[in-house]
């Protein structure tokens, strides 16, 4: 309790007078008492919320640049995309009020709101949307996620002040889903004119908060946008946010992050670890928000571009050598469920086939013998033509949580019994990107979040072997299959829902039955927050939390 008050008062010491401090003291005390019937209370405006992220600190706060999840987490608070999804997965208006696809599917007409201004005073209009799309497609921006999502957008046309037409090279059944993502949020065109470094420091959007200050390696301060008027159609209120400001801290160590939450030093944490979630369940002051990410499941990709995984038999053997189920239940304290699909369980069109992913060392041994890896060296690893059956497995410690790394160690141990030598290299994010760029990997686990099954095209179409401007390529198993390419292209153009579903199912069968991936579980996305935090929800798009409706009940 005292810690709570001390840290709060230190934060406010210069800004507020004695009255506020007294109020804070009272608030601090009341939060210790058990509360009930919180819902239905009138939200209270004001206060500062402290968020602690365990994800990597972004190198650029503009999610157009690169485009990863850590950027999406924070940019959701200050940038807004054209459309959103509701909890049923239907597209709903946000900055755009209406949209229409042309008969031939080769163009979309989108109308944006005429009463919204960016926080630098620039009006939102068709011109601004055009500038954003050009910014995303400009190689100088080095966009990865946004760039790939707009791959089919050929050109833009201003129809009127508030209406823009996007001309496509092919029909795109996933265009609106793509546009709903935080990586394609609309920024002030005037701000985008600034040098890249400057825009990275403080992007300007239409969101409920404004980037005030970024102290690297420490925190980002977000302050309320007092003129805010553009909530998504499914928000709980209108007008400015309740919170006065958000301090967005980075606490990479899981135990310290949870300790800070327990003490009340922070109000919300992300990347809650399985053991922490298990212990938080017993704590009355702490609530849990489980928001699995859409797009791909968490899976291990098998690099089929080079030996030994260019041999399908060896890929199949590896998959049967990995005992995944036992590890998931013990390491994740039953917070995660085994996946047998390339897609997240959130995706309706996901196809799963548990039969393909059984743990079967005998079968693995048989397959390796058949593939010619029939001898073993003194350490028990298989050899063929003097080559050891060894696999490079670079692991990004920023993206793989400790429990996942432990799971990889267990897979390493069970695969060893069959004769695979797996070299686990724990790397920071940039070294990890480096290992991928040099094709220096046989196994890799890389989360990919995208709205809708079109993520399959990004991850498994042979076009995905070519790096995006950021240098990242998404097809990490390097599947290069003409039939699969055709299915994925067709599916991405198909507007008939049944046809689309059938095409995606066929595509997923090819991917799973080709043994290119070992699915593990959904992309875990757990938030823990103090029970005094009311109104927290994750956006149904990519499950980033939004603090627009949040207020502090203390």
């Amino acid at each position: 309790m005292s810690t709570h008050f001390k840290s709060s008062s230190a934060r406010f010491s210069t800004a507020v007078g004695a009255v506020s401090v007294a109020a804070l003291l009272l608030a601090g005390c009341s939060s210790a008492e058990p509360q009930d019937g919180q819902s239905g209370q009138t939200p209270v405006s004001g206060g500062e919320l402290v968020y602690a992220s365990g994800d990597a600190e972004p190198t650029c706060l503009d999610p157009h640049v690169g485009g990863n999840y850590p950027q999406a987490l924070v940019s959701t608070q200050y940038l807004e995309p054209l459309v959103s999804l509701n909890s049923d997965g239907e597209i709903i208006p946000w900055l755009a009020t209406s949209w229409e696809e042309a008969e031939d599917g080769l163009s979309w007409t989108i109308t944006v709101r005429d009463d919204v201004k960016f926080t630098d005073g620039t009006p939102l209009n068709a011109e601004a949307v055009k500038a954003n799309i050009e910014h995303l497609k400009d190689p100088e921006t080095a966009s990865s996620t946004g760039f790939l999502a707009l791959a089919k957008v050929k050109s833009t046309e201003i129809v009127s002040e508030d209406t823009i037409r996007l001309n496509l090279s092919q029909p795109d059944s996933a265009l609106l889903e793509s546009l709903s993502q935080p990586w394609l949020a609309i920024e002030s065109p005037a701000a985008l004119e600034r040098p890249k470094e400057e825009n990275c420091e403080a992007p300007v959007g239409t969101g409920p908060f404004i980037v005030d200050e970024w102290v690297k390696q420490n925190s980002i301060t977000l302050v309320r946008n007092e003129d805010y008027n553009s909530p998504p159609a499914d928000a709980a209120h209108e007008g400015p946010a309740y919170l006065e400001s958000i301090t967005w801290r980075f606490i990479p160590d899981s135990a310290s992050r949870y300790a800070a939450l327990q003490s009340g030093e922070v109000d919300v944490i992300d990347n809650a670890q399985p053991d922490t979630i298990a212990s938080a369940e017993k704590n009355e002051d702490i609530e849990h928000l489980d928001a699995p990410r859409p797009g791909a499941s968490n899976r291990i990709e098998l690099n089929s571009s080079k030996a030994p995984f260019n041999d399908p038999l060896v890929r199949e053997a590896f998959i049967h050598s990995a005992n995944v189920d036992a590890g998931i239940s013990s390491l994740f304290f039953d917070a995660a469920e085994r996946s047998h699909s390339a897609l997240s369980s959130v995706e309706e069109l996901g196809y799963a086939d548990p039969e393909l992913f059984t743990y079967d060392p005998e079968e693995a041994n048989r397959l390796l013998d058949e593939a010619g890896w029939d001898k073993r060296d003194s350490k028990g690893y298989r050899v063929k033509d003097g080559q050891q059956l060894s696999l490079e497995f670079p692991v990004s410690t920023n993206q793989s949580i400790p429990a996942e790394v432990s799971l990889f160690e267990q897979i390493q141990a069970t695969a060893k019994e069959v004769g695979f030598k797996i070299d686990l290299n724990l790397l920071d994010l940039s070294s990890w990107y480096g290992a991928l760029a040099e094709n220096n990997y046989d196994l890799v686990s890389a989360p990919y979040t995208k709205v809708g099954p079109d993520v399959l095209r990004i991850l498994y179409h042979s076009d995905g072997i070519v790096p995006a401007p950021s240098g990242y390529f998404a097809n990490l198993s390097q599947v290069d299959n003409a039939e699969l390419d055709k299915l994925l292209t067709q599916a991405s153009q198909e507007t008939d829902p049944d046809q689309r579903a059938a095409l995606y199912e066929d595509a997923q069968k090819l991917i799973l039955e080709g043994y290119y991936v070992l699915p593990l579980y959904d992309q875990q996305n757990h938030f823990l927050y103090r029970s005094s935090v009311e109104g927290l929800r994750a956006l149904p798009t990519v499950s980033t939390p939004t603090f627009y409706d949040v207020w502090l009940n203390r």
Binding site: D253, A255, A259, D275, S330, L331, Q412, N425, L426
Partner: protein, 284 residues
């Protein structure tokens, strides 16, 4: 020990202190060292389980009769892992110390025997290196050479070298001016003979004592680097790496960090106690 006794004979005035009684802490430290040496030499004889054998169903078990130090997240026996971890952990420390002394010998000899200009040059270089904290120096080296067991060993070795170099230089200069060197010169011994027979043996004796103290420090540093993920890759049973793995579960499974940590502390404490003991007996 034979090396030490040889050295002792060369310098008079030591024998009076040599038979000081062995203290209780020293006996305990000796016992720890014996146990560690046994763990390094015959880990399989001391450890009841395979340190790498996983058993997910048995994960996160507290200390019990079957698993003395409990089990880790993959159900591996922590006691067995700590025993098997002695070899990599101590080896890194020992090799790093050897590298540090080897490098220091070169630098110290250059400074002590190479004339004024070299002495000045080496002296300033050492001052620059001293200005940086040792662990930082090691981290810089790893940043350049890339992480791994070999680099982290060399890194720790490099960062301990300046300290040893300065002591060796001082010793050499001291011995160089002593009567026995003068006598050797008068007797017409060659420069190399003097260095080999008088200078190095006498200059090195205090270094061995300090190296005993330094060994514990080197083990701690090597564990620190492993803890940061810059040492042995998984699934190796190495104390620092075990600490790092257990840290995540500190609140729920304390034994995962406590026991490897305890062994690091024992190692550092034992080598310090023994080093101090040697120092008291051997250095004037």
């Amino acid at each position: 020990m034979s090396m030490m006794s040889k050295v002792r004979r060369r310098i008079p005035g030591r024998t009076s202190q040599a038979h000081r009684k062995v203290t209780v802490p020293e006996m305990l430290a000796g016992a720890v060292v014996l146990f560690l040496v046994a763990a390094v030499a015959f880990p399989a004889a001391l450890a009841p389980f395979d340190p790498l054998a996983i058993n997910p169903a048995d994960g996160f078990q507290g200390p019990s009769l079957e698993h003395w130090f409990g089990t880790d997240e993959s159900g591996r026996d922590i006691y067995s892992r700590v025993i098997f971890g002695a070899r990599p952990s101590l080896l890194i420390g020992a090799v790093a110390t050897a590298i540090g002394i080897g490098l220091a010998l070169v630098l110290g000899s250059l400074a002590g025997l190479g004339g004024k200009a070299l002495d000045f040059g080496v002296g300033r270089l050492l001052e620059v290196l001293f200005a940086l904290p040792g662990l930082l120096l090691a981290l810089v080296f790893i940043a350049i050479a890339g992480p791994g067991v070999v680099t982290s060993t060399v890194a720790v070795g490099l960062s301990t070298a300046p300290g040893y170099a300065r002591i060796i230089r001082g010793q050499i200069i001291q011995v160089r001016g002593s009567g026995m060197v003068e006598a050797a010169v008068v007797l017409g011994r060659t420069r190399w003979q003097i260095v080999r027979r008088h200078l190095l043996p006498n200059a090195l004796s205090p270094v061995f004592v300090i190296a005993t103290l330094g060994l514990g420090q080197a083990v701690v540093w090597a564990s620190s680097l492993s803890f940061l993920g810059l040492g042995e890759p998984p699934p190796a049973a190495e104390w620092g790496a075990m600490l790092a793995a257990g840290r995540t579960y500190l609140t729920t499974a304390w034994w995962m960090t406590f026991f490897p940590g305890l062994f690091i502390v024992f190692t550092a404490a034992a080598s310090t106690v023994l080093g101090r003991g040697l120092q008291r007996r051997m250095v004037r």
